[in-house]
Amino acid sequence: MTLTTKRSLFIFSIAFMLVLGGLSRTAFAQVPDPGTPGPFAVTREEYDFGDTAFTATDFPGPIELRASIHYPTNLAAGPFPVILFMHGRHATCFAGGSALLQWPCTSNNSQPIPSYKGYDYVSEVLASNGYVVVSVSANGVNAVDNSVFDLGALARAELLQKHLDILKQFNTTGGAPFGTKFIGKFDLTRVGTMGHSRGGEGVVRHYVLNQSLGAPYGIKAVFPLAPVDFNRFVVNNAALNVLLPYCDGDVSDLQGVHFYDDARYNVPGDQAPKHYELIMGANHNFFNTIWSPSSPFPGSANDWLAFVPGGHSDEQCGSGKNNQRLTEAQQRGTGLAYMSAFFRVYVGGETQFVPILTGDAPPPPSAQNSNLFVSYHAPDNPELRLDVNRLLNNTNLSVNNLGGAATQTALSPYSLCGGDDPQPQRCLPDQPNARQPHTTPSARSAARGLSQLITGWNNMTGNYRNNIPAALGNVTGFQALQFRVSVNFADARNVEGLAQNFRVVLTDASGASSSVRVSDVSAALYFPPGSVGPVPKVVLNTVRMPLTAFSGVNLNSVRSVQFVFDDRFQGGLLITDVAFASAPR
C-alpha cells in the first residue's frame, strides 16, 4: 500500500466516522430541549416561619423554616407535580465582607446568606413547564452539622419532610402566608427532590425517611448534585440521577457515585432507572448562583482554584490558556438541562426526554456544553435489562450471570477490585482516593466500593468473552449492548492523552459475527485528563452500542459477546456492568 493510499484511507476513515457520528446525532435531532422555558407565566414567592421554627431529632441547633416557591401564575391547570430543592453546606451569615458560620445570624449587622435562592434559574424553567418548585433554606443545619455523627443527613431529611408537611397544609386547608390559593394545586403523589452537595445526601436520606414513614409523599425521583455520601444510604425503587463534576474542588473524590453503584443490584425487581452524568469541565459551586464568584455574597468561590493546592496549573481544571473549564453560565446550563430532563421524565411523565438521560441523544442546546458522559442502568425488568456479567465476585470471572462461560485470552491482569472482601479495596493502589471515586471510602460507613474487572493486554490478541446460553440468546427486544468502562490512567500501557479503543463482537448460533468499535459510538475511552491533586480520575462511563449497529448477525440467537483488543497494541481498562438493555418506558 502506498503512502498516498494509506493517507487517503486515513482521511476516508476519519470522514466516515464523522458522518457516522453525525448520523447518530441526526437520528435523535427530534428530541426536544427540556431546558427551554415553557408556556406558563411564573410567580415566585417565599414563606418564612422564622429562624428557629424547626428542631430536628438529636440535632444541637435550631433550624429555619424558609423556602422559595415558584409556580405557574395561572393555577387553574393544577394540581402540579412538586419538586423540592435543598442546597448544601456553605457559610450561613455574612457581615460586611466576612462570611460567618452561626445560626441565627446574631453578630452585629450580620445577615443570612440565601443559598436557597441559588437554583432559581432551574426553578423558573420547571415552573414555566407546569411544576411547583420549592427551594428550602437549610442554614441552621449547616451551622452545626459537623458536630453530629451523620454530619447532618437526618436533620436535612427531616427538614425536607417538614416542608412537605407544610405544602400538604397549603394544599388541603391552606394557611399563612398564602391563604387558600394553593388548595388542591399541589400533586404530592408526584414529587421529585434535588439536593446539592450535603443536600445531595440529604435528599437520599429523605427518600429513605419518607419510605420509613409509610411513604406519605410520592417521591418519584431523586437527584443528588455533586453530592457527598458519608453514610451510604440507598435509593431503591425511585429514579435516581447523580451529577458528577469532574473538576469538583470540594467533593473532589466524587464520592456521590456510590449512590448509583450501591443502588444497581441492591433490590431484586427494582423498576427504577438510575443515571449519572460526568461533566468534564464543571466544578462544585457554579451550580448555585449564590456560591459562585459572580455572587455578591462572601463565601463564594471557584472551588477548584480555591481548594485544590496548585489547582491553577492543571491543564483540565485550572486557569491556564487551554483549560477545559466551563463558565458559570455553561455549567448552570448543563445543570438546568439534566435536572429538567430528569424531573420532567420521572415526575412529570414527559418521556420524550428519555434519550437525553440514557445518552442516546446528545446534550440539548440548553446544556451549553457537550463535554460530558451519561451513564445509565436499566430497571430490573427482563424486558428492559439482561445482565450478561455484573462482575461482582470471583465466580463472574469464569461464569457470567447468564450461566455462560466467561473467558479471557492474553489479558493481564484479569481480576476484580474495589468490591467486597477479598477484593482489594482500591483498584489503583498507588493513587489517592480522590482519583478513584468508585472505591473512595465513606466517612461514616465501612461499605466497600464498586466491584470492577481490572484488565489489560500486551499485544493484539487480547480477548474477553462471555458466552450466552442458547435459551437466552434472543436479544431482539433490547436496544443496546452496554457496559461501563474507564481507561486506567495508572496502567503504563495506556499512552497519556491518547484515547483507547477496542471492538465489541457479537456472534450468533451460525457462527456469523459482527463487530463495532467503541470509538464509533462513544468517546468514553478517553484518557482521563489532568495532573494536579484529584485528577486524573477513573470514572466508569456507560458505553451503549445500538444493536442495530451489529449488522449481519442474527440477534435471535446471539451466542457470545466478545471484547476484542486488537485496535491498540496495548492498554489497561476497568470494566463492569455488561448487559443488554433498553431505555425505560
Binding site: 470540594d250 481548594f307 493546592p309
Partner: protein, 179 residues
C-alpha cells in the same frame, strides 16, 4: 500520654467548673445512672467544644502556613461532667475526659467535606468551625494521640495526601515546671 501532676485544690476546681457549666447545658437533667451514650452516635461534641479546658500545648507559627493560612494550634484537656461510652482504639470504653485540638488560621472555608485534624498519621476527629471561621476544633477521647513530638495537620476529608502541616511539634506543658 504522660500524667500531668496537679495539686489537689486545682484538681477539684477543674473538676467542678465543667460540672457547673454542664448543668446549664442540660447535662444535669439526664439520669445520673444512665451515664453511657449510644456507641459512636450522638456524643455531645458541641458542648465539649464549649466547655472550659486545661491548656496542654500551644503554638503560633511565625506566619500563615499554606493555602489555609494556619497560624497555630492549641491542645486542651476537658473534664466531662459525666462519663460517656465511646469507642477508643477499637474498644468500647467509658471516658470522663476528652482532648481538644484546635487549629487556628483561616478564615476557613465552609465546605461539604469536613475539616479533619490529624496528629501524625492519626485522625483526631472531624473539625467543628467557630462562628468567625478562624478556628477549627476536633475532639478525641484517645489520649495516646496527644503526645510530645506529635505533628498537627489539617485536611478536608480524610485526605492524607492533602494535609497542611504545622511544623512546630506538640510540646506538652509540664505541671510546675518550665513550659
Amino acid at each position: 500520654m504522660k500524667r500531668i501532676l496537679m495539686n489537689r485544690p486545682l484538681a477539684i476546681a477543674v473538676a467542678l467548673l465543667p460540672l457547673l457549666l454542664a448543668g446549664s447545658l442540660g447535662f444535669a437533667q439526664q439520669n445520673a445512672q444512665r451515664t453511657a451514650s449510644p456507641p459512636n452516635k450522638e456524643l455531645p461534641l458541641r458542648q465539649i467544644v464549649k466547655l472550659p479546658g486545661k491548656l496542654l500545648a500551644e503554638t503560633k507559627t511565625t506566619g500563615p502556613t499554606g493555602d489555609l493560612k494556619l497560624t497555630g494550634y492549641r491542645v486542651e484537656e476537658v473534664t466531662l461532667s459525666q462519663s460517656l461510652s465511646t469507642e477508643v482504639r477499637g474498644q468500647q470504653v467509658n471516658v470522663n475526659k476528652a482532648w481538644r485540638v484546635t487549629v487556628t488560621g483561616g478564615p476557613f472555608p465552609v465546605r461539604a467535606l469536613p475539616a479533619v485534624i490529624w496528629v501524625d498519621d492519626q485522625i483526631v476527629g472531624y473539625g467543628i468551625e467557630n462562628e468567625t471561621l478562624s478556628q477549627i476544633t476536633a475532639v478525641t477521647f484517645d489520649d495516646s494521640l496527644i503526645h510530645d513530638g506529635g505533628v498537627v495537620s489539617l485536611s478536608y476529608g480524610e485526605n492524607k495526601e492533602g494535609r497542611t502541616r504545622i511544623s512546630q511539634k506538640i510540646q506538652l506543658k509540664r505541671e510546675g515546671g518550665n513550659q
